[in-house]
């Protein structure tokens, strides 16, 4: 039995009503908690891309992938966990900041290459794009100052290199027609 770990799936789907629901239902049915989920359109019209992070073991990951392929509107599934993909997440953090504490907070943000996007006399809103780890790091550093509100997008991921696996699939011959 292999151990469970956080796995990242990229699911390319047709952009149609209900598709996200079908994908998520696979995980819901098996009582998995989804750690992170992002969905948006892609460079191709009518194709959306789901980045999904979930804790499963090897066997479960393989079965999930096979079951994702059973969904009619799923075009291509990548389990990029072991490929060292490029992973990014966006966070907006609203943190307490007075005249006295503001410079110190901004200094910390600078170290993380985070940007202040709103300043009021009592608070700052900071924007950070980075790996989920890096965002966790900034949150920990800002927590003592008093985080008022926090929102994260969840991870988006992409394989390194020049290849687009989806292109191979979409340019392939159409499936065989039933007799």
């Amino acid at each position: 039995m292999s151990t469970s770990l956080q796995r990242t799936f990229i699911v390319h789907v047709e952009d149609r009503p209900g598709v996200l629901n079908r994908v998520i239902s696979l995980f819901r049915r098996r009582a998995y908690n989804i750690d992170s989920l992002t969905v948006a359109r892609t460079e191709r019209p009518s194709i959306s891309r789901i980045t999904l992070v979930v804790v499963v073991d090897d066997r479960e990951a393989r079965l999930l992938e096979a079951n994702l392929y059973k969904l009619i509107n799923v075009l291509y599934v990548e389990d990029v966990t072991h490929q060292g993909p490029l992973v990014r997440e966006l966070a907006l953090i609203k943190v307490k900041a007075t005249e006295e504490t503001r410079p110190q907070i901004l200094q910390v943000c600078d170290v993380f290459r985070a940007r202040a996007i709103d300043v009021t006399p009592s608070a700052l809103v900071v924007e950070l794009t980075g790996t989920p780890d890096k965002i966790d790091g900034l949150i920990e550093v800002l927590r003592p100052s008093g985080i008022i509100e926090l929102v994260r997008t969840g991870a988006v991921a992409m394989e390194r290199g020049a290849r687009s696996p989806l292109a191979d699939v979409l340019d392939a011959a159409p499936p065989e027609q039933a007799a």
Binding site: V13, S25, Y69, L75, L170, P174, P175, Q177, A178
Partner: protein, 608 residues
């Protein structure tokens, strides 16, 4: 709209396959005329070769029903929509074609749910068409509005909500394509009422269905096929496990060829029965929870399992940790998500079964398995002693007698449809299924109430067949209302109620595992003969074994559906039994000390 009370004349018009519209007068100028969405529904159904649909009208599907008028498609009016889904399922299982059912929105649609789930679990191709409230009312909790695509999302292979008339034809064509291709399954198409009423053009020559994400056809690699052939050559104690896929893929001739080339014995799953002829010397019978003892023992002792179109269901494997531990495993399966799901295999062949076997057989070396088969035959020897068939007459009518005698009296040729419970297992054990599609039963979902409506669908698919329904007194009452449909539609069935006055399988579990506390399992039944006669059908009763031949003869002679109420031994047990989660060879066997063994049964052909 037409008045609700004026029902369309349901005329039976025989029609050929496929093109049913040629030459009919109202079909003029078909390429340019716009049609209503409702008319398009029937146009597509006709072009898909649909000859019969099962359904129940209602407000949100009335345009479609209205457009059925004078169509060359037969409509069977059921008494409950669940019956419509089961009938379409029975039709599909008996014919291999797509079964079609119709229902209105809301409660009509939800009543289909059990039937759709039954089809899903047994990979039966269905297209279910439901009416929906007008698109402008979606999400408003309008009268009889229900999110049926949401409800059926986990129990359909795919489903659609259609809100525009121009989407109806392409969607229905996709639905048929998805339902019948790859691993078959049910597809639901929910059509809003305004889409049914709106008009759209329909192309006379529809474009081919193109679904870029749908890949129903898989083919194993040549290397994997060769590896499988090598394992088969090297095995000393190989077994073939034949599943439902043999029947779905119509791969029985290939299975026979493989067996004749290798001499490997064949065990069947419940749904695989009939995929390999039961009277073949290398047919072992059913495996699993109520499988034959020698089969389960042989599985545990085997050194190679060749699993064909089956999915290692927990009813088949028992405890997975101890399942066939000495065996290497080859698994051929059309659905890749079934490979390595329950059982880790050595060679996983994702592929269409008939084609895969056709490619595998030439690679397999000719061989025999004589010592292994002799060993298995020796395992059988003490089983006859435990068979109720061979026990002396004690005056009581056992269900096993009924099934055995039905097999004998129908010469093993009837199309058998069973419900779910003890009688289902006795049917599987005592009827000998010789050909594919001879047994229709709910295996995956285990749906009580399935048999009667499914048999009606099967009978319409195979009008030349003698169809027998084997059903318990509990399950019969779950869909007994469809007797009325049987009478109205003139569908002739033979129904054997195995009446033991209990929910027998649950009572058996109570006896074994709940210290004989028969909570909520005794049934106070109506007089089934009178119930059947109230429908204008033939009702018969049998209480002694010697009455069986006469009752069967009367049922067969009856011009209409005939129901025989077999009053069988009340507290009989299905033996053998592997308790849930136990090791496959930890079987509870019929006690031998009851009485001495009778060498021959009056009905037996002598074979074990």
């Amino acid at each position: 709209m037409t008045k609700a009370g004026t029902s369309p004349k349901i005329e039976q018009v025989p029609t050929g396959h496929g093109d049913s519209s040629s030459g009919s007068a109202p079909e003029h100028a078909r390429s340019t005329t716009k049609r209503t969405g409702a008319e398009i529904v029937w146009e597509v159904l006709a072009s898909e070769g649909v000859e019969v649909v099962f359904g129940y009208p209602g407000g949100a599907i009335m345009p479609i029903y209205n457009a059925l008028h004078q169509r060359p498609i037969r409509h069977v009016l059921v008494r409950h929509e669940q019956g419509a889904a089961h009938m379409a399922d029975g039709y599909a299982r008996a014919s291999g074609r797509v079964g079609v059912c119709l229902a209105t929105s809301g409660p009509g649609a939800t009543n289909l749910v059990t039937g759709i789930a039954t089809a899903m679990l047994d990979s039966s191709p269905l297209v279910c068409i439901t009416g929906q409230v007008p698109a402008s009312l979606l999400g408003s909790d309008a009268f009889q509005e229900l999110d049926i695509t949401g409800v059926t999302l986990p129990i359909t292979k795919h489903n659609y909500l259609v809100t525009r008339a121009e989407d109806i034809a392409p969607t229905l064509r996709e639905a048929f394509f998805i339902a019948r291709s790859g691993r078959p399954g049910p597809v639901l198409v929910d059509i809003t009422k305004d889409a049914q009423q709106a008009t759209a053009a329909i192309e006379p020559r529809p474009p081919a269905v193109r679904l870029p994400g749908y890949r129903p056809a898989h083919h194993p690699s040549a290397e994997d096929l060769t590896r499988a052939a090598e394992l088969i050559a090297a095995a000393e104690r190989p077994l073939i496990l034949a599943g439902h896929g043999i029947i779905k893929a119509e791969a029985s001739p290939q299975l026979m060829e493989l067996v004749e080339k290798t001499g490997i014995p064949v065990a069947s799953t419940l749904l695989g029965l009939g995929g390999f002829p039961a009277t073949h010397p290398l047919s072992l019978g059913m495996m699993g929870m109520h499988g034959e003892a020698w089969v389960n023992t042989a599985i545990q002792e085997s050194d190679l399992l060749i699993a064909l179109g089956m999915r290692f269901d927990d009813r088949v494997t028992g405890n997975l940790k101890t399942y066939a531990r000495k065996a290497r495993k080859i698994h051929v399966e059309i659905d890749p998500s079934e490979l390595n799901k329950n059982v880790q295999v050595d060679v996983a062949l994702a592929g269409e079964l008939r084609r895969t076997l056709t490619e595998l057989i030439p690679r397999v070396a000719r061989r025999t398995c004589t010592p292994w088969v002799q060993h298995i035959n020796a395992l059988k020897s003490n089983s006859a002693a435990r068979d109720i068939q061979y026990m002396p007459h004690n005056g009581r009518l056992h269900a096993a007698h009924v099934i055995h005698d039905l097999w004998w009296l129908t010469r093993g040729k009837a199309l058998m449809v069973t419900d779910v419970g003890q009688h289902q297992m006795w049917e599987a054990q005592y009827y000998r299924h010789e050909r594919p599609r001879q047994l229709i039963t709910s295996g995956g979902l285990g749906t009580m109430g399935f048999a009667l409506p499914a048999a009606m669908g099967a009978r319409l698919a195979q009008p030349g067949e003698e169809v027998w329904v084997v059903v318990g007194d509990g399950g019969f009452q779950m869909s007994a209302a469809e007797l009325s449909t049987c009478a109205q539609e003139g569908i002739k069935l033979h129904v054997a109620i195995i009446n033991n006055g209990y929910l027998g399988m649950v009572r058996q579990l109570q006896q074994f595992f709940y210290e004989n506390r028969y909570t909520a399992t005794p049934l106070r039944n109506p007089d089934f003969v009178k119930l059947v006669e109230a429908h204008g059908l033939t009702g018969l009763r049998v209480t002694r074994r010697e009455e069986i031949p006469d009752a069967v003869a009367q049922a067969r002679a009856s011009p209409c559906t005939a129901v025989i109420d077999f009053r069988v031994e009340q507290e009989d047990i299905v033996y053998p039994m592997v308790p849930a989660g136990a090791n496959l060879d930890e079987m509870i066997r019929r006690p031998q000390d009851e009485s001495e063994v009778c060498a021959t049964s009056p009905w037996s052909s002598g074979a074990v």
